[in-house]
């Protein structure tokens, strides 16, 4: 079996890349390299085929309206099925903002367009009139991550989860999925959806490792990952959290 290798599939990198989301892929790749693991990042975009057995971890970021419509149409072809299959088979997945919205049941935009999702997550999104913008802090109970996640949200979509998935965490500061129920993000098997930009993973290294470990376990016998020196990551996390908690303008929605 040899040295573990993480095979990342970066979906629509040139379309779904708003707000520095590619930092998540950089973080995943570097955290493998620093452990001596191999990494392969494969960009997969409009019209490309997707083999669900070829990758261990899928990433899709956020995009602007026009890009999101193009991607929605493309996912409705075979790619959506392949992605669902991969997640059912245990692949890890991280989707941010617009990517997250397209993996739910459907996305009803504010202007009235109904974009069908691929129903990987039991979630529905409707566009709202005001944008939710600002720093976010989320308390997550995800196994091995337990603690606060920090990020920045910027979305007008309001997402509501069904019973088929659970939230990534409860909002401490910020809006989260919809600004009403105190929930942020969504988890189904090893797949995560969230509104947190930031980039999310560099400042939340335990979540990065949660994804890496689950992705590698598909093909490698691993109990846990070797520890890395995360002092800079933790300092950045602490500073961002302090700053977020200090802000008075954000109303917290209690979970």
């Amino acid at each position: 079996m040899g040295t573990p290798e993480l095979r990342i599939c970066h979906l629509y990198p040139e379309l779904m890349n708003i707000y520095g989301d590619r930092g998540n892929v950089i973080a995943l790749a570097q955290r493998c390299r620093w452990r001596g693991y191999g990494v392969r990042v494969t960009p997969v975009s409009l019209g490309d085929g997707l083999d669900p057995t070829e990758h261990d971890l899928y990433f899709i970021g956020g995009g602007q309206d026009r890009e999101q419509i193009l991607v929605c149409e493309d996912l409705a072809r075979e790619k959506g099925d392949a992605l669902r299959q991969a997640v059912e088979d245990g692949a890890a997945l991280l989707s941010i903002c617009g990517g997250f919205q397209l993996l739910g049941d459907h996305f009803l935009t504010y202007t009235g367009e109904d974009l069908p999702g691929i129903s990987l997550f039991d979630a529905k999104t409707a566009g709202g009139d005001a944008r939710f913008i600002g720093n976010v802090a989320v308390e997550s109970g995800l196994e091995g991550v337990e603690g606060v996640l920090v990020g920045f949200e910027n979305h007008s979509g309001r997402t509501y989860l069904g019973s088929g998935c659970r939230p990534l965490g409860g909002v401490i500061r910020g809006y989260g999925n919809n600004g009403e129920d105190g929930q942020e993000g969504c988890v189904y098997r090893n797949a995560i959806g969230t509104y947190l930009h930031g980039s999310l993973l560099p400042k939340n290294p335990r979540l990065a490792d949660w994804l890496i470990l689950r992705a590698l376990r598909r093909r490698h016998d691993l109990d846990e990952l070797p520890r890395l020196d995360d002092s800079l990551e933790e300092a950045a996390h602490r500073a961002a959290l302090e700053l977020t908690l200090r802000e008075k303008r954000r109303r917290g929605v209690s979970p």
Binding site: Q64, H197, S199, P202, K203, L243
Partner: protein, 455 residues
Amino acid sequence: MAAGKAVTQLSRRLGAGAGSNFPGRVVLRLYPEAPEEMAASLAGGCVLVSGTNGKTTTSNLLAGMMRAGGMLPVHNRVGANLMTGITAALAQASDRKGIPRGDIGLFEVDEATLPAAVRRLRPRLVIVTNLFRDQLDRYGELESLARKMDAALKDLDGEAVVLLNADDPLVASLGRDCPARIYYYGIEYAGVAEAGLRHAADSKHCRECGSPLDFKANYFGHMGKYSCPGCGAARPPVDFAATHIELSGTRGSRVRLSTPRWQGELFLGLPGLYNVHNLLAASGCAQLLGLDREAVERGVEGYSTAFGRGERIPVGGRDLFLVLSKNPTGFNEVIRTLRGEGTGLPLLAALNDRIADGRDVSWIWDVDFEELAPLARYLVATGTRARDMALRMKYAGLHPSAIRVEPELKRALRAALEGADEGETVYALTTYTATLDLRRLLTRMKAAPGLWKEA
């Protein structure tokens, strides 16, 4: 002119370094018609410069050309580009009767303020430099911003003129249903093009039909020579072109200009291709205003750097090279410029997340710091988001032992200078408000001339 008079006196009493929005806010509250009245008394009308990057540099270059050509511009100099800042600039340039002491208005205008500025100032010429995802947390998405700008241009008078950057597909698509005559500028020199688009490129799809654009040449960001394989839309032919460019690192560039009236070569003391665009915008506008070649050349020669946009300041026996880096494309161009400076460079990077910088610092992950890391000997990270900056450089491959976090600017500056050798250059890459902070600090240290240089 009763309002103008009162406004001027009020504004004087409120006092203000340029760039302060406070007096403008008060004036607008008390005399909502003040900008209209004062602008209407400018004999030569108003020129507005809008777009994400290059507003200040373009305006300053243009102001120099105007003065060299005998015009007396009223100019908001230091990035105070909302209606409040423009009002304050008008008021401060006015005499006791409220008449502006100048014959032409030259205002840089925030992209989102353009509709209001066109409506109120009735400009004779509008320049749009480029549109990048600079502060989407303020503006929403580029497409909706472009729609607002289209509406603003549609509102222009029929005898007005618009000057657009043809190399930016989104900017070149502006001006639908605009009654004004549209001119274009752009780079016509393949020697500075790179192969393929960078991931930080923002506008890669045809605005008409949504197909991915085909880039035959790419200069930086999404600037280039493009066409749409879907609907056939293409980059418009340019009226003002740079036909040869020789980049010489942080010192500047030698540029050959081609215009409808003349062709000539000049040296621009500002680094990077993005400044060639600024030169094209300014010199094109100067000619559309009727200024001659000599005024353009003298304006460029006599140019003093827009503060913080690439200037060298001696401090503590070292040279501090100060350059504003506020969004992915701007930063990538700075990095490209630094590639000409060798390796083992001492770096100071200041990242702030104040409102004027954009509260969201996610954009640093779109910058190719992977290309900067191998050039750096060390990096001192500072600003309100110092640790985010440090983390970005760690993930870009700079060893943590070469990264130092000093959130407090003064300590950071000292650390960055102390790490450098006598006579060596320290490169300071700073976001907007961090540039202001650093200049203020240097002024206090008596190393730099006063921050608010009089026009």
